[in-house]
Symmetry: C2
Subunit: 357 residues, 2 copies
């Protein structure tokens, strides 16, 4: 109906474009074609004639054109083609996750995918917040850490998955998972293996020193499994929680709690939530003249650089840190390319015995 009032003289409006960046239309004008042809050249070069292609190539170089990805993603809305990967990691500074991010970034390099990274500081609330913010970019894939998330985060993850975006939980692998792809390993299994290692070496009084980070669920899970496995073999486990200090200091402090009033170990072996705690304990034991492993055996988790260099070397669990990131990148790219959900992957870890057990 508004056709009747059509020829009203449009008042001149202020133009919206402020920035000076070349657009597809600019390139097209320079090449003597229309925008769609340039767009095609960029995405399906074989579909434009050789001569046209050459002209476009020159125009592209002359204008210094950089495609506007917001516009591209918006125009392809529904196809989920932002080609951004949103990754949520508890802590970037923690070397354990830094390597995973490195593997992810490396694996994404050259794939046309960009990495949107946020750190949750081991808080499920903050994870939800960050996830909500990142969802605004319509990421093509989502990587989260572990399998515990807030209800709100789960809603977002499911929504993303139902639009076809792969959602991958890294660093964990657990049978009762809720259907997102998991790439990691079973922490309970590691906890049991840690207990078995100490029991098999004859230890009958054990301790597990858990992480002081309340929401480090995977550490708690290893601890519970460690205790359950020992209990099943008739051995009691003394469970401590490391103080919330810098990890090596926390480990030193934890060792003190493993000694009686005379400074003698209360247990014959202790396992730790991570290598920094274990190294702190090892250093403190040496400072106090407690023989490791004879008076007290110590077992870490993570295989950090430090533990390898101490004497005796720290026995620990070596993890596929970089591999998790690489496998995640490969899995999500395959899923994006093939349209199929990525299968779970259980990556191998190994218990490395050095001098401390």
């Amino acid at each position: 109906m508004p056709a009747a009032s059509r020829p009203a003289p449009r008042p001149a409006r202020t133009p919206r474009r402020g920035h000076g960046r070349a657009t597809l239309a600019d390139v097209a004008a320079a090449a003597g074609v229309t925008a769609i042809t340039v767009s095609r050249y960029l995405r399906e070069p074989h579909r434009v004639a050789a001569g046209t292609a050459e002209a476009i190539g020159r125009a592209l170089a002359a204008t210094g054109y950089v495609p506007n990805k917001q516009a591209g993603a918006l125009a392809s809305a529904g196809s989920g083609t932002s080609r951004m990967v949103a990754a949520l990691i508890p802590s970037i500074a923690n070397s354990i996750f830094a390597e995973t991010v490195q593997g992810l970034a490396d694996g994404l390099q050259g794939s046309g995918c960009e990495l949107l990274l946020a750190s949750t500081n081991y808080s499920v609330e903050r994870e939800e917040e960050q996830l909500r913010a990142l969802m605004g970019w319509f990421p093509s894939a989502i990587v989260v850490t572990g399998r515990r998330h807030s209800p709100g985060a789960l809603v977002l993850m499911r929504a993303a998955r139902s639009r076809g975006a792969p959602v991958i939980e890294v660093w964990d692998h657990h049978r009762s998972a809720r259907g997102f792809t998991q790439i990691g390993f079973d922490h309970a299994e590691v906890g049991r293996a840690m207990a078995a290692h100490l029991l098999d070496r004859g230890h009958r009084t054990l301790a597990y020193v858990d992480s002081g980070v309340a929401e480090d669920f995977r550490a708690h899970e290893r601890g519970e499994a460690f205790i359950a496995a020992a209990t099943a073999r008739g051995v009691q486990v003394r469970r401590l929680v490391a103080p919330q200090a810098e990890a090596i200091e926390a480990g030193r402090a934890a060792l003190a709690s493993l000694l009686d009033a005379q400074g003698r170990p209360l247990v014959s072996a202790a396992a730790f939530a991570n290598d920094h705690l274990a190294c702190g304990a090892l250093l403190e034991a040496q400072a106090r003249g407690i023989a490791v492993p004879d008076a007290l055996a110590l077992l870490g988790f993570g295989d950090f650089v430090l533990g390898r260099q101490l004497a005796p070397g720290l026995s620990t669990v070596h993890l596929p840190r970089l591999e998790i990131g690489q496998a995640t990148a490969a899995a999500l790219l395959a899923s994006l390319a093939g349209g199929k959900p990525a299968p779970d992957q259980r990556l191998p870890w190994t218990l490395v015995r050095r001098g401390s057990t």
Copy 2:
């Protein structure tokens, strides 16, 4: 002119929307207003009437609306409002940079800015490639590492700056810089301080063990300054390049090159491009029964965890790793808010003497 042909019956076309996500229009319909009012509610809540606001709030919750940031950024084109920060880091796994990224991510948290991260693997070519890809998102700010970039990267950085996006070079601070904001410290100054420390302690035969990474320009710069400072005081410096192996192993190997055929040190003190190299050398010296620091003094750079825990502790240069990231986040947010370019910041480092010198 096309007005005449206007009332032609439009053929029904296939709709483009595939995804099921709620749009502003959906929320508006649910709230009984139009899209623009919802948009205003989201950005300037005080400008909508209380009753309307309440209805919109309910509609928002009911629909689970998540704003589409591509559309938002596109509509605001020119204002540079993507609120994405593109960061290019040589290596994420390297703890030195991981902490900077952590500081950056933490500082950005809650600001409405997202972090787009890429790792360049110490290659200026790869840096340019990644930068070109990230520019497609029209980042509101750009963070690059160091002051050496390819000509193509510089073009992109200047273009971004001229659109008003702050461009910050981190981890370096150098007077002859090309006008991007720098947040870091002067590596030549550190190199000179390292030389002065060893000279002041009476050493007259020195070595500098440089990084085996060809494009670790900052390490080379420290090395050159170290050598120049020593030369100026009449002391020759033996310069070696660590092999391209895992850093601690490389340090062990480097130590061997500092010994004569009889296994005696060729110099009385050696400085290293980083703590991992220095720690490797320290461990190897101990293994060979070379007294540190009496027979050979060792000085690192970076203050990594490992060096603090060895005995003797490694003397080193403590760096504002986290602070660089935090300061960068603060600077770019201030610049974005104020429209002014961020000033350079020279952050403090300290030479920490422990037992190895």
